[in-house]
């Protein structure tokens, strides 16, 4: 009696004006409209939200943790991208 799985949706909520949407969890729903309502009913019961996004979980493409070294290590040595790399005499003041 296994029934058809209902699609999974990832839920993102903007909690305050000016903030970005943040991932909060997921819901099941047959379609996007119902997913949005489910997200509202499940994740904003205590005034947590001003705006909701729902995204089909299957639509997310994620980086592979096995590629972590290749993907993220090379930037560690590029210290010249950070302001502290450069010397400015104190007399010049804040820059």
């Amino acid at each position: 009696m296994t029934e058809k799985n209902s699609p999974l949706w990832e839920v993102f909520i903007r909690s305050r004006n000016g903030l970005a949407h943040r991932h909060v969890g997921s819901v099941h729903a047959a379609d996007a409209t119902m997913a949005l309502q489910a997200a509202r009913d499940v994740y904003t019961r205590r005034g947590e939200g001003l705006s909701i996004w729902v995204v089909p979980s299957a639509a997310i493409t994620a980086s592979d943790p096995a590629d972590k070294d290749m993907m993220f290590e090379p930037t560690a040595s590029k210290i010249y991208r950070h302001p502290t790399f450069y010397e400015v005499p104190e007399e010049v003041g804040h820059m």
Binding site: M1, T2, E3, K4, N5, S6, P7, L8, V24, G25, S26, V27, H28, A29, A30, D31, M34, V42, R45, R46, A62, D64, P65, A66
Partner: protein, 333 residues
């Protein structure tokens, strides 16, 4: 606790040592979180899936004994609070199913496991709620015991589980207070109400202590789950913490605990308590508690009676997609 059945069932053996295993363990030891796509030992995945889904099932089945009293709550304030609380439990079940799904098992599969009797849930929800005082007791003691267990789970090594627990703990802080307030009103009320409160405590005290699972000397599980930083305290440690916190609260209410051996140990500073009847625990876990069959029957009925609704929602979604495709094709011509 909500996953106490784990303690009595087959234990995940640590996988054979390998470089991957060692790297995994090093991450866990460094208190780094394991995320869904990270490599993890199969046994870790299996244990967590089982633990999280049992925890979710407990929340869902736990809606039933309290749900009994939503329509009968004695004031509108109590009614609203209880409705919100039972609703929260549904929400917590949902967060937990979501966390478990990240390990690769669908909610439908987990629900099937519950309804077929393959998956377990906390023994405590197989006890009946007979009077309004039981609602107070569940909030004060059952949620109190749950919180003892859940706070350390907020630091669990598996990211999605830890994050779900943080959300749950935040929401649950009102549950225990709600229950204690009910008890307080009863204990300050008429002699009949006070008696109702005492009688409920007498019935629930031992089953609540059983929620923490078998005594440490009888449970072998702890090694692996502790090493994996899924579990951070032993059953007996958590049970003792709970007893120490709860007994003074009960005395404040003017209630007595149904345990003649309960006394403050001057040397250790802890409350000593009597021997738990583990045969009852095993019996209830095995399916012969007062309400096991009734609870499962209700869950199955809800699931079966809802099948046509879920089908309709999916059928509509398919139709809409087909219509959109057709409209798009027409526009393209």
């Amino acid at each position: 606790m909500y996953t106490q059945a784990l303690n009595t069932r087959d234990q995940a053996a640590p996988s054979a040592d390998s470089e991957q295993d060692a790297r995994f363990q090093a991450r866990v030891d460094a208190e780094l979180k394991i995320e869904p796509n990270d490599w993890m030992p199969e046994a870790y995945r299996r244990t967590l899936t089982r633990q999280i889904s049992q925890h979710a099932h407990s929340e869902i089945v736990g809606m039933l004994p309290e749900g009994n009293w939503i329509t009968r709550a004695p004031t509108l304030k109590r009614k609203a609070a209880l409705l919100a609380k039972v609703q929260d439990e549904g929400g917590h079940g949902l967060y937990l199913y979501s966390a478990a799904e990240t390990l690769g098992t669908s909610r439908e599969e987990m629900v099937d496991q519950l309804l077929s009797g393959k998956a377990k849930y906390s023994s405590i929800f197989n006890y009946p709620t007979l009077t309004w005082a039981d609602i107070g007791i569940i909030g004060w003691l059952v949620d109190g015991a749950a919180i003892m267990n859940q706070i350390p789970l907020c630091r669990c090594s598996y990211g999605p589980y830890a994050r779900a627990m943080i959300r749950i703990c935040k929401e649950e802080s009102f549950h225990q207070r709600q229950g204690y307030e009910i008890m307080l009103a009863l204990c300050r009320g008429t002699p009949e109400q006070k008696q109702m409160a005492q009688e409920a405590l007498n019935r629930w005290w031992w089953p609540v202590l059983m929620m923490f699972g078998p005594s440490d000397k009888d449970s072998q599980h702890t090694d692996t789950t502790t090493r994996w930083k899924i579990k951070r305290f032993t059953n007996d440690e958590l049970r003792q913490k709970f007893v120490d916190a709860t007994v003074p609260q009960g005395h404040y209410l003017g209630l007595t605990f149904p345990d003649p051996a309960l006394r403050l140990n001057e040397k250790t500073g802890h409350w000593d308590y009597g021997e738990i009847d583990w045969s009852e625990f095993k019996r209830v876990i095995a399916g012969d508690g007062p309400c096991n069959r009734q609870r499962m029957k209700q869950r199955r009925a809800a699931h079966e009676n809802g099948a046509w609704v879920r089908e309709a929602a999916l059928a509509y979604a398919e139709k809409r997609k087909a219509r959109e495709r057709a409209a798009y094709a027409e526009a393209a011509e």
